[in-house]
């Protein structure tokens, strides 16, 4: 009379279920974090209220969020773009540092100020990020070496390089702080409190990339390479060329994030300028299911989570707890993504 129910795995995932799984993952992760905080002897509801008032209660809080959104959208976009062509760029952190490094070189050593220097810094940041992913890109394209590990390992090299120049040859010799470069003479101008023009640039880039991928012939070919490389090759699409172009673009976008961070937010280069932006970018891209437009929203969400961690630092928690919670959300999302392929179907007995 009722027939029998069975679980069936379909070849395509259900977007609605995948989205619901993301919401559920975040709720569960926050609940678990709350329980953890309660076990540590603090009141999670008090802390939560504090986070909300500190984030949304004042213009300063909103500005902090606005500044955090910029690098998170861009590193998320970098990871998402690479995903479109079927590559894992886990090295956005290193490309971020490389972009910041290259842009600082222009800012410190090219005389002059104004828009021209800013343009040069922007290009240098992009080139620095792209240069940082060049070897992994060529290794993947010509020798089929997994780009996941090579991009990741270069993160450590970039971090060490920035640490070296900002405490060594480029360090500020005038002030007391000797672990950072002197302030840069050229800044990305702000338009609302401390929120600078990197904000519209980040959103604009995401929209631009989404439009190119969705409406251009090139974008169509890239997406085809990402979803089925052998079919793309059979159809005469230059798979290798697209792979190289998109991976370099991915590195370049992460480099722009680094450039905007030093030129707009921090105003000087120092070790640890990235709040794990590159790693959190992976999360931003996954939450957005690799969609460049979605990255804008998941970037904002991630900024809120990261900002909460920074606020809670004053309450005796560390920002590393943000990393742990992010990882937990990612874990639950991965499970939810797999479950979104299943349907419960009813068979007539």
């Amino acid at each position: 009379m009722f027939g029998s129910y069975r679980l069936q795995r379909l070849p395509s995932s259900h977007a609605g279920i995948a989205l619901a799984a993301r919401v559920a993952a975040i709720v569960i992760a926050l609940l678990v974090a709350g329980i953890g905080i309660a076990l540590a002897g603090m009141n999670p509801l008090n802390l939560g209220a504090r986070v909300i008032t500190a984030s949304f209660g004042s213009a300063f809080g909103m500005e902090d969020l606005g500044v955090l959104i910029i690098p998170l959208i861009l590193t998320g976009l970098a990871v998402a773009v690479a995903q479109q062509v079927g590559a894992w760029n886990i090295g956005a952190e290193g490309q971020f540092y490389a972009g910041a490094f290259a842009a600082t070189a222009i800012g410190l050593f090219v005389p002059g100020e104004g828009p021209l220097i800013l343009m040069l810094m922007f290009v240098a940041g992009m080139a620095g990020g792209a240069a940082w992913i060049l070897v992994p890109t060529l290794a993947r394209a010509y020798a089929n070496v997994n780009e996941l590990i090579t991009t990741l390992l270069l993160n450590f090299v970039a971090t060490l390089l920035v640490y070296y120049v900002s405490t060594g040859p480029w360090r500020d010799r005038s002030g007391m702080a000797n672990s950072a470069t002197p302030p840069l003479s050229t800044d990305v101008p702000s338009f609302w409190g401390i929120v600078h023009w990197g904000f519209p640039i980040a959103i604009g880039l995401a929209v631009l990339v989404a439009a190119v991928l969705a409406f251009s012939r090139w974008g169509y070919e890239v997406r085809l390479v990402g979803s089925n490389p052998s079919a793309a090759k059979y159809a005469g699409i230059p798979v290798r060329k697209h792979l190289i172009a998109v991976m370099l673009l991915s590195g370049g976008i992460a480099g722009i994030a680094g450039m905007l961070e030093i030129a707009g937010t921090v105003h000087r280069l120092q070790g640890g300028i990235s709040n794990n932006f590159g790693y959190l970018g992976i999360m931003v891209a996954v939450l957005a299911r690799g969609s460049p437009i979605g990255v804008i929203f998941s970037g904002a969400l991630m900024a809120l989570i990261l900002n909460s961690g920074i606020i809670l630092q004053t309450q005796g928690l560390t920002t590393s707890i943000v990393l742990a919670i992010t990882g937990f959300i990612l874990f639950l999302t991965a499970i939810g993504d797999e479950l979104s392929y299943y349907r419960i179907t009813r068979e007539k007995a």
Partner: protein
């Protein structure tokens, strides 16, 4: 101590961390699962080790506690990837973020504190008197012999000379055929993912209880990722993984010796050596030894979840 002895002693010490983690990942990948959470597992093992010995002053207990914590995390990862069949790359990255973040949070109380007890070196009588090799190889702690001799030989024998090992490799190469032959594919994967994760966490405990030996934030410093890369370089073989761990121990030791002796290279650049070396060592062999490709290839079903009803 002369230069060569110092170099070798440090190389063996530093290499053991990578060798143990890489061995664990070889077991994991041979059954067809890629675990990118090694970095996080090592961090958890490192902090578990130091937290345990501050309560009970026994390095062995600290190491065992790390194995248990690693196994628990490994089971969670294996449940998600083997039974639920969630994306292995995502789950691995998640495990790295969770492990690193959680370890830093827990480790705040132990930051900068040297480990109260460490694995003390055991001098092998007579043999430890041999010049150069004696101090490097026969005056090390007890785990050292486990990592360099017992475990690689045991797992190599198990993998290549027993029926169980054949079954194990079959699961990684062709799970459908293995299933048809009556091998419990999921159980096999679950078990070796768990063992591999335990060994990774053990490598972390070795870091804080024998090598460094103290906890500081970021003490793992990418060693987990180097270990994952070494597995490729080692062609998924236990003994080769141990040897490549030693090779990278040597590269790390070169940096240390350079710093200690005041070579005119900035320490930051010496610290880059292991990472740059790893990148080079996974790219160059692919280009250089085209003929070796088949023998050194990854298990055919690596990172591919197995669905029985979709054969």
């Amino acid at each position: 101590m002369d230069l060569l002895t110092g170099l070798l002693t440090t190389a063996f010490l530093a290499g053991a961390v990578l060798a143990l983690a890489a061995l664990g990942e070889v077991l994991t990948e041979r059954v067809g699962v890629v675990n990118l959470g090694v970095e996080g597992l090592m961090a958890m093992g490192a902090v578990t080790g130091i937290a345990t010995v501050t309560v009970v002053p026994s390095p062995m207990l600290g190491f065992l506690a790390a194995l248990v914590v690693g196994a628990l995390f490994g089971m969670v990862f294996a449940l998600a990837t083997v039974y639920v069949r969630a994306n292995q790359v995502l789950c691995g990255l998640a495990l790295t973020l969770m492990g690193s973040g959680l370890a830093s949070t827990i480790g705040r109380n132990y930051s900068g504190m040297p480990s109260p007890v460490i694995f003390e070196p055991v001098k092998v009588p007579v043999l430890s008197e041999i010049p150069v090799l004696g101090p490097a190889f026969f005056s090390q702690n007890i785990l050292f012999y486990l990592i360099y001799l017992i475990l690689p030989i045991f797992f190599s024998y198990l993998m290549f000379s027993t029926r169980h090992g054949l079954n194990m490799r079959a699961v990684g190469e062709n799970p459908a055929a293995a299933d048809a032959a009556g091998i419990p594919v999921n159980l096999m994967r679950f078990s070796y993912v768990t063992i591999g994760a335990a060994l990774a966490a053990g490598a972390g405990a070795y870091l804080t209880l024998a090598f460094v030996p103290s906890w500081s934030d970021g003490v793992v410093a990418g060693r987990g990722w180097i270990a994952v890369a070494l597995v490729i370089f080692a062609g998924y073989r236990p003994i080769m993984a141990t040897l490549s761990g030693l090779l990278f121990g040597l590269i790390t030791a070169l940096g240390f010796v350079g710093q200690a002796r005041g070579w005119p290279i900035a320490p930051a650049f010496l610290s880059m050596l292991p990472y740059l070396g790893t990148v080079a060592f996974i790219i160059v062999p692919v280009l250089a030894w085209q003929k070796m490709r088949r023998a050194m290839a990854a298990p055919a079903a690596l990172a591919v979840p197995y669905y029985r009803d979709m054969r």
